[in-house]
């Protein structure tokens, strides 16, 4: 392992992200903020949704933003660079084992996801106030959940980015990300699925469920949520699985 090279790879990604800051910002926040505005503000103030929905919604939006940002930040460049522009070849020739380049991508994607997640809190609070009741009872647990969710998104991005072809990007969104978001307990707590017992069990294979429920359990514990310990455990398992799968796929892609 060669730290100088690793840091230079990170610096390159940070430089490119700085250069694309505004489009990145719009891409990350526009959709979740519109969702927050319509469901948290319009629907609540017109009485179609109870006021408490504001607080319930916030962790879910945070989870969506984080997952979307991490997946996008890691998967999209990998798809383009491996299959179309071949830009990554120069970095594959850098004096470091190839898998460290994949890990660098994961680290960078996770940092972006953390930033996106943390930025949602004040942004949503500004859009929704008054009436958002956050109870951060255990900051350490919250940090732990946030980091694991960020890693989940970046590892997922690595696995997807090294597995799908350029022509399947549309399918990735419609077949993978969109169902994940809708069945990911983002707009409702897991307990709300009690009337659909089969679905309630089935959604447990969706890692986003643990992201939303974990953030709900640490930010708005007044609402029903899955036990935080179980959530942490599930996130660790999903992170490890996706990282292992992502690294395997990256290895296949990086050598002919």
């Amino acid at each position: 392992m060669n730290w100088k090279t690793f840091l230079a790879l990170l610096a390159r990604d940070a430089h490119v992200a700085r250069r694309n800051f505004v489009p990145l910002l719009l891409q990350t926040f526009l959709q979740p903020m519109m969702f927050v505005f319509i469901f948290g503000r319009v629907m609540v103030s017109s009485g179609y949704m109870p006021a408490a929905y504001k607080s319930l919604l916030l962790p879910g939006i945070m989870a969506i933003s984080m997952i979307f940002t991490g997946v996008w930040a890691v998967a999209m460049p990998l798809i383009a660079e491996f299959q179309f522009t071949h830009e990554i070849e120069d970095r594959l020739l850098a004096p470091i084992e190839n898998h460290w380049l994949a890990i660098e991508k994961v680290v960078f994607g996770a940092v972006q996801a953390v930033v996106a997640g943390l930025a949602v809190i004040p942004a949503a609070w500004l859009l929704l106030r008054p009436g958002v009741e956050l109870h951060l009872l255990s900051p350490l647990t919250f940090i732990g959940v946030t980091l694991l969710v960020a890693l989940l998104s970046a590892c997922g991005g690595l696995a997807l980015g090294c597995s799908i072809s350029q022509t399947q990007i549309g399918l990735m969104f419609s077949l993978v990300l969109t169902p994940m978001i809708f069945f990911g307990c983002t707009y409702y707590p897991w307990s709300a699925l009690a009337n659909f017992p089969i679905l309630q069990k089935a959604v447990l294979i969706n890692p986003l469920v643990y992201a939303s429920e974990g953030l709900r359990g640490t930010l708005v514990p007044q609402f029903p949520h899955l036990p935080v310990l179980a959530v942490l455990l599930a996130l660790v398992v999903f992170d490890s699985l996706l990282l292992a799968l992502g690294l395997r796929q990256f290895r296949r892609k990086s050598v002919a």
Partner: protein, 340 residues
Amino acid sequence: MLAGIRTRDLRKVYTTPPPLAAGGSFLGAHRKSNQPAREIVALDGLSLDVTGGEIFGLLGPNGAGKSTTVGILTTRVRPTNGQAWIGDYDVWAQQVEVKRLIGVVAQRPNLDFSLTAREILLYHGAYFGLDSRTRSTRAAELLDRFKLSDRADQMVRGFSGGMMQRLSIARAMMHDPQVLFLDEPSAGLDPQTRLLLWEIIRECNQSGKTILLTTHNMEEADALCQRLAIIDHGRNIALGTPAELKASVPGGFLLRVRFGADSPDLFERLKTLSGVREVRVQTDADGENGVDVYADRGGPLVSEIANLAAASSVELSDVHISEPSLENLFLLHTGRSLRE
């Protein structure tokens, strides 16, 4: 000591996965198919010894295995069998050490489109651990030498093919590698840029670098390389200096003669002409009958061939004379032109 390049019995077989329509899976993570994958043999037991400090050329037609060889030597392609070394390092087993020693210019442009020309060089230097002062000095020098200084701070997306190629070579030289790989370096360059490139390659070599370049351009191979391997179908078919290789063609001159009709009798009699070393019967794709005559003289033979043809009542339809060249050598070994 200068780092050389060695390969032993390199073999590479590509297996192409079945297409999506043939039952390939959506995610590609698990391929299940009853059809066996189609195998393409790119390299078939290639052994090379490139001495440290020489300009070595791999000459061959498209699909001969040149890029695969470069891919294996630069850690980007895993060999199916065989071994390769850069200096004392085994390419597959000691990748990081090898990557430190080599600079690579790929056949397709692969510049970092998110960066400016200068940044491409600076970050490349940073990947190799150069300190920031060395990085900026070297980047400025290389941009100047490759005549890119006036566009140094622009994004490379809008660069012409020639500029991208020059920048790719500058990038490969940024960390001062011992061994430089250039895969078809002058493809798509205008004659002026090609000459600049040749000059830079020679300079680079004089400063003690080993250079391996691939080309299907005989003039380039002849002008630039100290030694050449001619490869076809993943095999080494001839090896030596350009002069040795050209001298190994019987006689040196090649006359490609085409006749209106097939006449084995006439073909036999051609062999008796003075100066003719070898006569090979060729049938073109369009069914024309002809022979390749290897001889130690060119023009003066034509009238004698024409006389013989007239005596046999066979119409002479076409004659093409080639002076001693690597093209003739390739034809001698494969029966095909490098350009085909």
